[in-house]
Symmetry: C2
Subunit: 122 residues, 2 copies
DNA sequence: GTCGATATATCTGAATACGATATATCTATG
DNA sequence: CATAGATATATCGTATTCAGATATATCGAC
């Protein structure tokens, strides 16, 4: 496993978690991540869209375009948003990721615990 | 921060933690990691030695060769081993990494907590 | 009508991971 | 003695991944 669980795409875990609460479009996901992490984390467009595309291909999320026509008089079409929602398969994957993360964190605590002489925690 | 703290070199954190307990040589570190993680994790030579070299250059660890002569009486000795020990700077770095990891884990729980509807909790 | 925010998407240079490879010593077995 | 496997350190090469830069287009504010 080569320590992979410590980093097995934290971005994927976060995005799946966000989508587990409600369907979102890409830009909103990135804003949501920044907000919920108090600005500590950010997902750039260069990571988000390839990831969403990958998730869609592997059937973990389903996607559909929402054509927003704000007003019938509006000559233009409207801003296009692509909405993503978790599939049943995606929910399974999310639970797997959560379990793997918690297990990896527990193992890591064995290492950290023995070394954390200044932190105070036992 | 781009979600980096979730994975900011878990290998480095683990290696520093191992060295925080007592000086070790490379091969022993890799065996120790496998043992303490119940075989869940492994650090290949291709990752370990470049990492140790990097840590040494940045003064987080100090290293010295243990030249054991091929003494017939000295069973188990005679092979060249390079011993690594944490420097004061390395201990500081380790504490920083531990804090960053715990903080990142706490933030991640905000995301996971809202999504973990099927897990043991709920 | 220009600027910044919204919105999706790809490209690219840099860093990293991990297995494979190389060298050499020690131990166990035939 | 020969051979193989474990110990021990170290580099290489390919593949993946990152994160910023770039591209396109709409919308609201001034």
């Amino acid at each position: 496993m080569a320590l992979s669980d410590l980093k097995t795409d934290g971005t994927e875990l976060v995005v799946l978690s966000v989508l587990a609460q409600e369907p979102q479009y890409g830009y909103a996901i990135s804003k949501h991540v920044a907000a919920l992490s108090d600005g500590a984390w950010s997902i750039g467009a260069g990571q988000l869209y390839p990831l969403l595309s990958k998730l869609e291909k592997s059937k973990l999320v389903s996607a559909s375009w929402d054509e927003v026509k704000a007003d019938p008089d509006d000559s233009g079409g409207g801003r296009r948003r692509k909405w993503y929602r978790l599939t049943a398969k995606g929910k399974q994957r999310l639970q797997q990721r959560i379990e793997a993360h918690r297990k990896a964190t527990a193992v890591l605590e064995r290492f950290i615990g023995g070394a954390d002489v200044a932190g105070g925690a036992a």
